[in-house]
């Protein structure tokens, strides 16, 4: 019931972050999704990540498309502006917003129907442009709001709640994101908060297009035997390549490349990703091998999760467009309107 305000009672002992805010200050309205929906866990992870990073909530803009996942921006960061736009078109609206004000943090929330079907084109182009954003697909393999039709990420051979078998090949958004040039790519599971929160924190600090595919079971329509997006299936087939600890402090940390141990990646803003490797062969700086790895494991029915690729030196769209440092929406008449003298010169050149 989004129109019901949450009680604003704070426990006096609630932990406070660097801004003096509690976790409650990062919450939104009460969710109207089904009890047990994976999407609510993702909202909770976003609240946790923003709280821990000490992000000022009003400096975040939340954008989404249409669908269950796209409803969730109402349920976190209540002091942020949000925009629930058009089905499959969140990426373009977010791109425009990011062009207008480069100083905000942009979180785009989408679903598998929103991004892999109707919005596949916009998904692709926002990533290849390097829009500075965190793009989250809350991936449950079905259309929830329209009651359980397969989406384009549903695995071939998986069964719907009514027993229909999906005969189409699935679209793996992570592999697409890698091919399209996203500079931070991860997959996680809504049921694994310990993995998801550090990944979100790292993505929020990444400059450039960060993409997270979060498998998020639909308890109403896709959590049954025969589904490959159910809690049970994902828990059984989750193949994490690494575990991430995110450290926003700027202290340099020695890189340790010993297989099976730890690898540090220094981010653009000086923060560090510390990866505890679970698969000694996996190298998240090698985009091409990452794609081959993902394809091989998908063929084996595994759901590969973790930080799959990161390029900490990536450029973003504003760098490519060479825009001024000040947000474009802050420029006034003196910055934008050339005036009558310039116009006279233009007139003279047109005779």
């Amino acid at each position: 019931m989004t129109y019901l305000a949450k009680p604003k009672l704070h426990h006096p002992a609630l932990a406070r972050n660097a801004l003096g805010l509690t976790r409650r200050d990062y919450e939104g309205a009460i969710s109207t999704l089904c009890a047990g929906c994976g999407h609510d866990s993702i909202s909770a992870a976003l609240i946790q990540a923003c709280f821990e990073l000490g992000i000022a909530p009003h400096r975040v803009a939340k954008l989404s498309g249409i669908g269950c996942s796209s409803k969730t921006p109402t349920y976190f960061l209540g002091n942020s502006h949000g925009f629930n736009s058009v089905h499959g078109r969140m990426p373009s609206v977010l791109t425009g917003a990011a062009l207008a004000n480069r100083d905000l943090i942009y979180i785009g929330v989408s679903g598998d129907g929103d991004s892999a079907s109707i919005g596949l084109g916009q998904f692709a182009h926002a990533l290849r442009r390097g829009v500075d954003m965190v793009y989250i697909v809350e991936n449950n393999g079905v259309y929830g709001l329209t009651k359980g039709q397969f989406s384009a990420t549903a695995d071939k051979g998986s069964k719907s709640k009514r027993g229909a078998v999906n005969h189409d090949e699935p679209i793996d958004l992570v592999v697409l994101a890698l091919a399209l040039g996203a500079s931070f790519v991860a997959r996680s599971f809504s049921g694994d908060k310990a993995q998801l929160v550090p990944l979100l924190k790292a993505a929020l600090c990444h400059k450039g297009a960060a993409f997270l595919d979060v498998v998020s079971p639909c308890v109403a329509f896709n959590n049954h035997p025969g589904s490959t997006k159910s809690y049970d299936y994902v828990r059984e087939h989750n193949e994490a390549v690494n575990r991430l600890d995110f450290m926003p402090e700027r202290d340099p940390i020695a890189v340790d490349l010993e297989p099976g141990s730890v690898r540090d990646v220094v981010l653009h803003d000086g923060g560090t990703l510390r990866l505890r490797k679970l698969d000694g062969d996996y190298d998240p700086s090698d985009r091409v091998r990452a794609m081959a790895y993902l394809e091989a494991h998908r063929a084996a029915g595994e759901v590969v999760t973790g930080l799959l690729y990161a390029d900490p030196g990536a450029r973003d769209l504003h760098e490519a467009l060479e825009t001024v440092a000040a947000p474009l929406n802050s420029l006034g008449d003196a910055d934008l309107v050339p005036g009558s003298a310039a116009l006279d010169a233009i007139n003279a050149s047109l005779r």
Binding site: Y3, S92, V93, D333, R351
Partner: protein, 620 residues
């Protein structure tokens, strides 16, 4: 024939991609430099190379801006269209052609003077490179025409010098080619022809510019910082023009950084999505497109209307529906834009009549969009957008400031001012908005296309929905009072008939009214500049027994809007419709209205039977 000085139509028939555009442009500009107004139009195919293309230059000391109709001097450089080009010449006119290869007498007309110049032969004797042969052939015919029509070759040389400033290697051969053609004609023909130009001082400070460049400049002066677009004829040069002006006018001298962002999007859906996102976030943003793009933007336009987001769209209209006639002009997107999207929607339209108004209304559109927090369409067309028009110079008032409309600031929020995103505080239907990131705890809201209450909270309550859409209507209706007002003028003599038009039709209209008055048909006139219509529009119709509405589409779309929005009896309106893709001409308007006037008994004192519905006349 009689001497005709500074009043004739020259039509060049060329092959696309042959480099003729440059020579033809020089032809028009050299006459302008002689102080004689011209009205020039490119008639081109959807093609890069090989198909026929025409360039029509009307030399008009009187300064008429529209097409007259008819051709006095044909430059027939395209064998594919020869027969049609020759047939089009008015009796007593001239046919200029390449006489290198002999043509049978059947290819000529007895009532048209043939002027053969062996262009290919002259060119091949001079140049060996095939591309040079093609390009300089155009300059050779320009030299030949300068002799026939008495164009001052010094003006052409000066234009060439400006064009090739610092590139002497290119300038010299151009000058040689010009002299070659000119000398050949002066030696062999009696020059000039009775049809010729004579230096005047009738151009003054006027400038020669296309509407897309002008609209793009308007966007710069209007404070636009974000442009998102997808290439589509005839609007592409508007977006490219914005990039060109911004490089010049909006780049930080020291750091080379840009005070603008332009994205060539993946399609029109993404273009308008980016515009909406940027505008939601406080930047002035626009897209430029044409009919098919407008179709693709429909869903987003409903969102922008309902979520109240300012957006500016330049619709450079072309021949439609479907792919239609991509390189021909029409005014056929009125209804599609006025009521764009599903559900009950209405949008603001502005109708520039020429490039000067493309600049002015282009800049104004951003103020209108911000004030009303809604999409605003600048309804151009190919004829205005892609043709060079002779217009009064652009002007700008340096005391003018951007009107960002009702945006609540951090200070106002901090002071405790009540903020409801959809709350009608001032009774004009226009609520306050906040930009993301304004205040840590106040003023944030959730923007959505679904229904909401006055405080932007999701609700499906019918009363809240009705309350909201009624306010949208109040907002829209309120705009009619302050949007650009129609231009009205009375006929020289009292009359019970009037005429209404908008946009590029005005170019031929002024001249047609002059001619009609000469024939005894007197019409009061109104040029509409904005939708929703000013109250004076309905009053104008009510004040006249018959009102002609002249427009460039099949279905009388302005008439539809007039009837629908002003409650006008359709029988009072006689439509004059031109929609073959070419710009409407003075001759067409004059003929159509004169015929109707006779049927209706205008000017003779005998009106048509009261209540009878006049037929809608359409161009054949």
């Amino acid at each position: 024939m009689d001497a005709r000085v500074n009043d004739f139509v020259v039509k060049f028939a060329n092959i696309n991609g042959s480099g003729s555009a440059s020579a033809n442009g020089l032809f028009a500009r050299s006459i302008l430099r002689m102080g004689i107004p011209v009205a020039a139009r490119n008639i081109f195919p959807s093609n890069i190379q090989g198909l026929p293309t025409w360039y029509e230059v009307r030399v008009t000391e009187a300064g008429w801006r529209g097409r007259r109709g008819g051709v006095d001097f044909a430059v027939a450089m395209n064998p594919q269209t020869w027969d049609k080009d020759v047939a089009e010449i008015d009796a007593g006119g001239y046919l200029f052609f390449d006489s290198t290869r002999p043509l049978p007498p059947s290819k000529f007309r007895a009532d048209v003077t043939a002027l053969g110049v062996p262009l290919t032969e002259l060119c091949n004797a001079q140049y060996t490179d095939s591309r040079q042969r093609q390009l300089f052939k155009n300059i050779i015919y320009l030299g030949a025409l300068s002799a026939f029509l008495d164009i001052d070759p010094g003006e052409i040389e000066r234009l060439l010098a400006e064009q090739y400033r610092g590139k002497d290697a290119l300038l010299e051969p151009n000058r040689r080619a010009l002299a070659l053609g000119r000398a050949h004609v002066l030696d062999r023909f009696e020059c000039p022809l009775p049809l010729r130009v004579e230096r005047r001082d009738r151009v003054g400070k006027r400038i020669f510019v296309d509407g897309n460049s002008a609209a793009a400049l308007g966007a710069v002066y209007g404070g636009a910082t974000v442009a998102a677009w997808y290439p589509i004829t005839p609007s592409s040069s508007l977006a490219e023009g914005f990039a060109k002006w911004c490089r010049k006018l909006r780049t930080d001298a020291a750091a080379g950084k840009r005070r603008y962002a332009i994205v060539q999007a993946e399609d029109e859906l993404a273009s308008i999505g980016m515009v909406i996102g940027a505008a939601w976030n406080g930047a002035r943003a626009f897209t430029a497109t044409s009919g098919p793009g407008i179709s693709l933007m429909q869903e987003f336009l409903g969102l922008a209307y309902f979520a109240e987001i300012p957006a500016v769209l330049f619709d450079v209209q072309r021949g439609s529906p479907s792919t239609g006639m991509p390189t021909r002009t029409q005014q056929a997107d009125l209804v599609a834009c006025a009521y764009a999207s599903h559900g009950d929607t209405k949008h603001v339209l502005l109708f520039p009549e020429d490039p000067r108004e493309c600049f002015e209304l282009g800049a104004l559109a951003f103020d209108v969009a911000d004030r009303l927090q809604t999409p605003v369409f600048v309804m151009m067309d190919l004829d205005i957008g892609m043709q060079d028009w002779l217009i009064e110079p652009f002007t700008w008032d340096d005391s003018r400031r951007m009107d960002r409309g009702k945006v609540m600031s951090a200070a106002e929020l901090e002071a405790g001012r009540d903020f409801g995103r959809y709350l009608d505080v001032d009774g004009d239907g226009i609520p306050y908005r906040t930009w993301p990131g304004t205040h840590p705890t106040r003023g944030s809201f959730f923007t959505r296309g679904t229904t909401k209450d006055r405080y932007a909270r999701y609700t499906e309550e019918g009363t809240a929905y009705v309350d909201n859409v009624q306010r949208l209507l109040r907002k829209f209706d309120g705009a009619r009072a302050w949007l650009p007002k129609p231009e009205v003028a009375d006929a020289d003599e009292p009359t019970d008939a009037g005429v209404i038009w908008f946009g590029s039709t005005g170019a031929a209209m002024a001249e047609a009214l002059d001619e009609l008055a000469r024939q005894g048909v007197h019409l009061d006139r109104m040029r509409i500049r904005a939708f929703p219509f000013h109250d004076s529009v309905a009053e104008f119709v009510a004040a006249h027994r018959h009102v002609f509405v002249v427009e460039q589409n099949r279905d009388a779309q302005l008439r539809m809007l007039l009837v629908n929005e002003c409650g006008i009896d359709p029988a009072r309106i006689v439509s004059v419709l031109h929609y073959d893709g070419t710009p409407i001409t003075e001759r067409f308007i004059t003929r159509e209205i004169a015929e109707h006037a006779q049927l209706l008994g205008l000017g003779s004192g005998e009106g048509a039977a009261a209540g009878s519905r006049p037929p809608i006349r359409r161009a054949s």
